[in-house]
């Protein structure tokens, strides 16, 4: 973990996409989302509450996710977020854009590294 991405390098759009991706599988509460992102990225992305909650609020405002209060596994109440139809559409669109961009970036990086 020599080159850990810093918070600021995690651009806003990326975090939004990661959250949407995480919620695509199942509804989750805030802490769960943070943990899941860390797990999936094998510890590369660590999302703290100061970034996570504003992002959740933003996505909720824009109607991409919706929050509902529900009981947790240890019988407490937490706000569970799930994807809405527009959120699903945005995720699909975003994933496609991301793939195109990252493939292009990867090609550029590989090409320049291949030069003597």
């Amino acid at each position: 973990m020599a080159q850990e991405p810093t918070q600021s390098s995690l651009v806003q759009g990326t975090l939004d996409m990661i959250i949407l991706r995480t919620l695509a599988l199942e509804p989750m509460h805030g802490y769960g989302i943070g943990v899941r992102i860390e797990q999936i990225s094998t510890g590369v992305f660590q999302v703290n509450a100061g970034s996570l909650f504003p992002a959740l609020r933003r996505l909720e405002r824009d109607g991409l996710i919706k929050g509902e209060w529900a009981a947790t596994e240890n019988n407490r109440r937490a706000k569970y977020y799930s994807l809405t139809a527009p959120g699903r559409a945005r995720l699909k669109q975003g994933t496609r854009d991301w793939e195109v961009q990252s493939a292009a970036i990867a090609r550029i990086l590989q090409a320049s590294m291949g030069e003597p």
Binding site: H29, G30, Y31, G32, V35, N48, A49, G50, S51, F53, P54, R57, R58, E60, R61, D62, G63, T72, N74, R76, R77, A78, K79, P86
Partner: protein, 865 residues
Amino acid sequence: MIALLRRTAGRLRGLFHRKHEERALDDELREYVEASVAQHMARGLSREEAVRAARVALGSLDAVKEAVRDVGWETLADAACQDVRHAVRRLRSRPLTSLAAIGMLGLGIGITTAMFAIVDALLLRPVPFRDADRLAQVVMHDEHGGGGDVARPVLRAWKETPVFEAVEGHHSTTSLIESGDRLVERPTAVVTRGLFDMLGVHPIRGRGFEEGEGRAGTSDRVVISEDLWRSAFGADPAVVGSHITVNREPLTVVGILPADFRFPTAKTELWRPIDYEAPPPDAMARPTALVRIAAGIPEADVLRVAANVAHAADPSTNRLQAFTRPLAGAYRDTYLTGAVPLLTGGVLLVFLVLCANVSSLLLERFTSRRREFAMCSALGASRGRLFRQALVESAMFGTLGAATGLAIAWGLVGVTRGFLPESFLLQTLNPLNVDYRAIGAASLSGFLATAAAGVLPAWVGTRMNAANSLRVVERGGTETRAARSVTRALLVGEIALACALLVGATLLVRSFVNLAQVDRGLNSRGVVTAWITFSKSLDDSAARTATAAVLEDGVRHLPGVTKVALSWGLPPGGGGISFGDWRPDTAGAAPVSLVVDRYWVGADFFDLYGIPLLAGRTFRPEDTSGQVIVGQRLAAALWPGTSAVGRRFTFLTQHFEVVGVAKEINHPSIDVRQDHPEFYEPFTAGGTRVMISIRCGSACPDAPLIRRRLTELSPDVRVIDVRPLDSVYFKQLATPRAAAAMGFAFAAVAIVAAASGLFTVLSYGVSRRRREFGIRTALGSSPAQIRGLVLRDGLTVALAGVTIGSVAAWWLARGLASLEYGVTPADPITWSIVFGVIGVTTMAACWRPARQATHLDPVMLLREE
């Protein structure tokens, strides 16, 4: 679309349920911490350690909440509310400077708005009717000009042309209206039925004209103006449907038009119907055509079609072309084209001065609050947030200033309507109100004032780095450099503008004084003039002249009257104007082309007015109409260097013989071409009007007595107007007086504003530099030296301002050249007045701050630390 709605709804909910949302956020974060704790405990940490770890991972709970709140604009609105509340508190914490700032902004916005209303009425929108750009008068001219009217068949033919959406006709006349025992004369228009609809005016009472009205037998209807209704008929609602006597003829009032409606002239107060298809026998033959051009047709096509149609309908127009003329604003005099734009410039200058002043006032406010800003900044407020807060405070001043300004504008426009010279008001059909356009102008100038006066202080005032500014505040040393240079630059600008305005105003005032002091060549003091009109029964000149003689004799016996003279007018009113070639009887002399005023005067005229005869004699009863008395200028033009008495001259087919030469009469006008040479013919009552001049000894009989006496003397006489001659002359100078008064008012406002700006800035400077002055005093500076420091500061600013201002003033003075009378831009008196006034004002503004600086006790100051 739906998403957008949902989002907006969510945001609104967010705004209204803030408390609820806050609670939900709290719950959610608590849950987050709990989950985190549980996780840590699952890894084997004790509860306490787990809570600690979770807290560390979370960081500041408040920071998270703040970050969440910052999402979306509802927080922006929230912050704005906060800013406004803060600004209101700030406003009230220093009421005096707040009031001063709002007052100055209000004054600036007020005069700007009022000036806009005037410019709008006079120049921008002189025709305030629906789709005014498609309304026009159509005339048939050739290259030498032509009449403004057309033959009836042409009007009829134009009505059938598709290029015109509507065609109406009208002509103007005047009417004598009887109201009680008084007779008032009012401009009158005879109009076709559809004209009111075409202009989009609706009667406030009664109705307009109907189909079939304006023919023989139905032309005895009349619509009157609201003004006439109020002034002559006491606003009696029963007037509608009743009879009034106009030109000795009973007419039925069918409606009353609103006071704001002005057509075809600004003063028209009576409208009578006419149907040009079947007009009453005594109707005017040729109407003036007023058209609404169909939308979307190029003007060239319209005019071509109109000309062709007119040629077919009236063969006498075959060689003429069609032209359009605006309904108003086509003819503009020197003052309108010269003075109004200059006054507008003056107003903008005053506006700028006031904005600059408010700007320095706000700068002083903001810089004196550096400690507060520094504190906020140290507590984590961003520069943007502080700037926004300061800007909201400025905008508050702008808004309150605009509201004050609107009230001031409303008052000013009311005053202006009464005070603006008639010659201005006659050039527009716009009633000159604070209408929605003026309100728009007020809002815009409020916005501009905020931008001009608020942004700079907010920027400079909130610029700091926390460490530095905290230190500066603690030491309370000298003025901050940025604030200092900005305020000084603003002051230099203010004084420069005030200087330019002062020069302009002084020139205008001096021009007015010169105009008022012009030797008219006659003595008007103690003279009352009465205009009378003869009834139609006296239809011959000899009968009228005989009746006039009876009147002259009758008035002579009124108490206090010493002299009476008959005339048809007196410069510059009445009389006739003849222009063309005047041929003297000198052998071989070329004709002289001149514009000459002609007056018909009785034998006592010269004596009554104290006009000396330089040669020859005055009129005798046996003089015939060819025998004349010429003025000096005409005599000199026709017979240069020789005596004119006994000589003859010819104008067109008329022959004249000179029996005397009178001293020239001047009438003051900035346009010297208006002052024509004149000559006099023996009095005959050629027209239906006569002026009776009455000179009195100690006191004149009052107007009603003269009026009554005249009507008693002859049943065929109506009195139009009785008034002192000086009041007529006073009115004549209304335009230059208005220009001088306005210029003076603007300059006064500007100079007072600049002085108070200088005072504020210097006082503030002294209060900032108390410590410095204290140390200087402690080190042995004398009070005179300290005072010198402050005075030098003020005088440097003033000197720079005057230097720049003089250059600007020179330009302004040259721009004013067309309005100057008897002064030049280089007038030494004007410039000494200006420099004197600015010097004295500067000294007055510097004096108190300078004294304050010397009255500081160094021991007290050092103890303040």
